[in-house]
Symmetry: C2
Subunit: 358 residues, 2 copies
């Protein structure tokens, strides 16, 4: 009795298991390897019997195409790179996953290079991606906004679509209407009768921050109120802890404040905690409106009023745009701005609207 081999796959000269190549398939099927290539790519004319034989052979040896070799000759990898900021920021995480799902739907593979919170290594990410000859890049690392190098590093080599501005490089931007976000939030606080409104901002200088700030200021002017600046604004860093600390500073400077506009929901959670520790009730003493509609917002106590940002849509559309770009369609002339919507819950003082259960 002959032992069945434990593994039919081909081996290298040193005996280790090797990926089967197109040639292994060919010799097993008794054809030239070019014919195998033909079959695997669905082109050319091949007799049904041969086709079936080749397909079976491929299965038997466990053939996995070598994208490296293919890319070498086709000058394309059908792979898109995503440079993502620290994905534990759920907001970007959702964006990235939506983008990847869309890419797969369109027949493209994606690889993501994550950069840590400090964005210390965007350059490294670009390198990793271009060494692998991705066909395009989706930038989702707002921390890299100030990176002057990035523009030159990316210059013209590859199609790029970005969530944020890139210095020295004109790329299609996509995102939501941050100005509107600021306007909606502050308008709503004004409707509730608030005049002494503090703001916990995102990172200073970041475009989102500027836009949300600008939208808020506009709402104040529209209501005939003066736009107070200076220490009515405190900088946060998008984290819960940052929001907590900024709120504490705000309360020290302006104990008379009755409302808070906070540039994201995580900071808003920190803010609510800070208010709680200082004995202020939300919304009784201080009303709070955040941004993003992060998952905890709805379930906080009190439930957080916020401006919902369509992250999934953004990811989907951004990726679709990138694919179009790679396919040679002209870049859109203007940035894409998705609208946002105010979600009234408890922290602003509204009777909450009914929400369907998740």
């Amino acid at each position: 009795m002959v032992m069945a081999p434990t593994d039919p796959g081909p081996r290298s000269s040193d005996g280790t298991r090797r990926y089967a190549s197109i040639k292994d398939v060919a010799s097993r099927a008794g054809v030239s390897y070019q014919t195998v290539s033909k079959v695997l790519n669905g082109g050319g004319s091949v007799a049904p019997a041969t086709l079936e034989r080749i397909q079976r052979a491929a299965d038997e040896v466990g053939y996995v195409p070598n994208v490296l070799a293919r890319g070498l000759v086709t000058h394309g990898t059908r792979t898109l790179g995503v440079i993502a900021a620290d994905p534990s920021d759920h907001v970007l995480g959702r964006f990235v996953v939506a983008a990847q799902t869309e890419a797969r739907r369109l027949g493209w593979a994606t690889v993501v290079a994550n950069v840590d919170a400090a964005a210390s290594d965007v350059a490294g990410c670009v390198e990793v991606l271009s060494e692998r000859r991705v066909d395009g890049i989706l930038m989702a690392a707002p921390q890299a906004e100030g990176d002057a190098d990035l523009g030159t590093r990316l210059r013209g080599r590859l199609p790029v679509v970005s969530l944020h501005h890139i210095q020295g490089l004109r790329v299609p931007l996509i995102g939501s209407d941050h100005v509107q976000t600021g306007t909606l939030a502050v308008e709503h606080l004004i409707e509730h009768g608030h005049r002494a409104i503090g703001v916990v901002t995102g990172t200073t200088g970041r475009r989102v921050t500027l836009a949300r700030l600008g939208g808020g200021a506009q709402a104040l002017r529209d209501a005939g109120l003066e736009d107070r600046n200076g220490d009515w604004l405190q900088e946060g860093d998008w984290t819960i802890g940052g929001g907590y600390a900024a709120t504490l500073r705000l309360l020290d400077r302006h104990p008379e404040l009755t409302a808070l506009f906070i540039h994201n929901d995580y900071m808003a959670i920190g803010a609510v905690r800070a208010l709680y520790e200082r004995g202020r009730r939300v919304p009784g003493d201080v009303a709070v409106v955040g941004c993003d509609d992060a998952p905890p917002a709805r379930y906080s106590v009190p439930a957080l009023s916020t401006v919902r940002v369509p992250f999934e849509d953004t990811g989907r559309i951004a990726m679709a745009q990138l694919v179009a770009l790679v396919d040679g369609e002209p870049a859109p002339k203007r940035s894409t701005l998705l609208p946002v919507v105010l979600v009234r819950r408890e922290s602003c003082g509204c009777e909450p609207e009914p929400e369907e259960t998740a």
Copy 2:
């Protein structure tokens, strides 16, 4: 006057900008391309002048090595793949980023393939990664635990290190001590005098869930209490909303409960909300202990007592282990279990310990 060319880089026959190859560098430096290869890889003996000339030429044309071509001949890409569950779960996000940072430190590049919450496409991820001939895979998609195919798909081709069990495949596992997590949490509730302890579990059947459950049961037995099952246990799905709903069910079945052990902090946030809506105070009426020490835990109102899980360490160690494996070191015989620690905050009824500011 001659116009300076806007871009010195090489172009393909159709006029589009092309990546410079080693041959472009060679002709510019006046040497054979093999010599360029020698220089770029730091091997061989080359005259200092030539070396400098080559390096300058490489800079001038903006040479970026082609990992595809290199991989073709070296049979290795110095790239590790990570299969990650939906990274908007911050907990996995932190793990992944830590792992990637470690890989970079060790001189390896990483690409991550994200799979959505339903884990509908782990197979696709494995495919994407093996087509790209990554040298090893780090699995971080607990949703895929039940995937029977996965094992065969991965079988023996590549070194794998995993965060979770993979059916039909013996791979080094790494994670934290989930049994201890359960024990610590329930012990602590018992210390506070609780006897009627409800549990909101993670996804049924998942190993983490089983382990945390087992640890809790052990704590009860050790205290001479009977381990109540059945409807003292309600299944959540790790999300805030899931925790909220499970807690509501629990309160319906057992209004007499005085404590809750919840298998992660996000569900715990939902639980606190549910208790609040039913008019129960935390910790006054019901004590709550979660797991993970997610960022919001510390800043919730009340601050959430929890069992801290060392995600960053896990990611770092997992990646280091994978690199070792790829480098040919023998696989560790036993799974790696990192210890966890109880963090007493407000929701269990303790005086909170002082914490340093983040």
